[in-house]
Amino acid sequence: MTESPASTEELQDLYRELILDHARSPRRFGRLENATHTADGINPLCGDKLKLYLQVDADRRIQDLSFEGSGCAISVASASLLTDTVVGLPVDEAEAFFDVITRRLTEGRVTDVEGIDIDKLKALDGVREFPARVKCATLAWHALHSALNRQSQPATTE
């Protein structure tokens, strides 16, 4: 079977080197002792499951965070990139990232927001060509949003 070059390009765009790297060696993977906020993210469609641990200090800054769980390359890489992105940030800024990233991936909206540098996160852009996979990429971000808002129900992508 000869396949169209476009097909290979889209696949390579989805599984970029940075994504595969984070999927294979996720950053801040594991349980965080002394977490002040946690949230579960569940994707009922494919069974992706992750737990996010946040340590938020008195100044409402994310001192540290981690995640554990299992999922596909996209969901694990996205969670790993998330931890790289929001560590050390004020809660409000992390929430702004949630907003920008989920809009970017679900609505294709690529507006720049002042003070938000999503350079690395553009590695996730490939999922926009794969509607069935957008939820994998946004799962960790929904969990972040849920943890910061202390929602008791697990975040789902449904």
Binding site: M1, E3, S7, C46
Partner: protein, 413 residues
């Protein structure tokens, strides 16, 4: 009603041309559909039968004196006769139309079991079951205090027969077991299991959702008490299904739902229920769907269930051999007796990623837990990639599958 055309095709593989949906490209490549265990595609004969019914014959059934109502009733009841013949039930009274396997099993749990069961009774299932043959029993246990027992499986994905037989004790009220595992393709030796259950006076429900598309079913030879299956797994419309029940048992069961069509006479003092099988078919049924299901039976019989089983068996063995030859593949489910399904994993690639890469080459497979999470737990995995075959697949499809899997290996290299 139109009669099935005798099939002159020399090979089952020629059936592919009967399925219009397969004539399309996905991501620029001809579609290879390997997800029939989730839902099978429909031949033109089924699609046309439904359309013809809607265009020419539709009205409500069992109600009107007018011509269309008569035609609709003939078509609907004609489908019931076909289903009776298809599984060799003794009487059309034993064929209850439902929305699918799930409703069929819930019907048995709530109507047959619930009034008769209590604390101390046991319901026996196996570790192989689909959620549809687990959750209705858990609900029943919560309602009645009965206990759910689960017979173990081995690492090939087969029910451990000795353990199952040992668990079939006097306090088991019903045994509910799948004929063919949806996640692994294991064919359980249900004839022998049912024979033992009969000796011990235990009624048996068979979840036949994955059995009917691949094996010739004879409920009288099996001697099961209930056999549940879905239309859309056997090339019929979604939202259709059958509960076969032994007449003496169905007769003694109260209705599952109340409504129109399931009554003989209603007053505010008392209601007299209709006879079988209408007692279990409250409300206007899925008439066009059942007409389509009848057409699916015609279609399958025109090909011949034994020919289908033989053809698929050979193709399944080819698929397993081809997959096995791929470096880094792990086959999940290697029972001695299997039908049409192979679950697998590749290296440390998540099944969802495999599914996306395969889809991008036009190959449709199922990924995830296949609504059988306990099976996944047994193997210590969260899910698998699953390729499932039907009569319209061929060796080219299998070759495309293995090429696509090799491509996935490349992407993740």
């Amino acid at each position: 009603m139109s009669q099935p055309q005798p099939r002159t095709a020399s090979s089952v593989a020629d059936c592919r041309a009967d399925f219009p949906i397969l004539e399309q490209c996905i991501s620029g490549a001809p579609l290879v559909y390997l997800d029939s265990a989730a839902s099978a595609q429909q031949p033109a004969a089924v699609i046309d039968a439904v359309a013809r019914y809607q265009r020419e014959d539709h009205a409500n059934v069992h109600r009107g004196v007018h011509t269309l109502s008569h035609r609709a009733t003939e078509a609907y009841e004609g489908a019931r006769d076909k289903l009776r013949d298809f599984i060799n039930a003794a009487s059309r009274r034993e064929i209850v139309f439902t929305s699918g396997t799930t409703e069929s099993i819930n019907l048995v749990a709530q109507s047959y079991c619930r009034p008769r069961i209590g604390a101390g009774d046991k319901i026996l299932i196996t570790h192989l079951e689909h959620h549809a043959n687990i959750v209705p029993w858990q609900i029943l246990c919560e309602q009645t205090g009965a206990e759910l027992l689960v017979a173990p499986i081995d690492d090939a994905g087969q029910v451990e027969l000795d353990a199952l037989l040992a668990m079939m004790t006097d306090d088991v009220f019903i045994l509910a077991i799948s004929h063919v595992s949806n996640a692994l393709g294991t064919i359980s030796p249900i004839a022998d299991i049912i024979a033992t259950a009969k000796e011990r006076g235990i009624p048996v429900l068979v979840d036949g959702a994955q059995g009917v598309p691949h094996l010739a079913i004879d409920v009288r030879a099996l001697d099961c008490d209930f056999y549940a299956f879905s239309g859309h797994k056997m090339f019929g419309p979604t939202g259709t299904g059958v509960l076969y029940g032994r007449e003496s048992l169905l007769d003694a069961m109260p209705p599952y739902q109340g409504g129109g069509d399931m009554i003989l006479e209603v007053s505010f003092e008392a209601t007299v229920y209709n006879e079988l099988p209408y007692k279990f078919e409250a409300g206007t049924p899925n008439i066009s769907g059942c007409v389509g299901l009848g057409a699916a039976v015609d279609y399958l019989q025109s090909v011949g269930m034994q020919r289908i089983a033989d053809y698929e068996h050979e193709l399944h063995d080819y698929m397993v051999a081809e997959l096995k030859a791929i470096d880094g593949i792990r086959l999940i489910g290697q029972a001695t007796e299997k039908a049409s399904v192979q679950s697998f994993l590749l290296d440390d690639i998540h099944s969802h990623d495999l599914g996306t890469i395969l889809d991008h080459q036009g190959v449709a497979i199922r990924t995830g837990h296949h609504c059988a999470m306990p099976v996944m737990q047994h193997f210590g995995i969260s899910g698998t990639a699953r390729a499932s075959l039907a009569l319209y697949n061929n060796e080219d499809d299998v070759n495309r599958l293995t090429e696509a899997v090799l491509k996935a290996k490349q992407v993740f290299a």
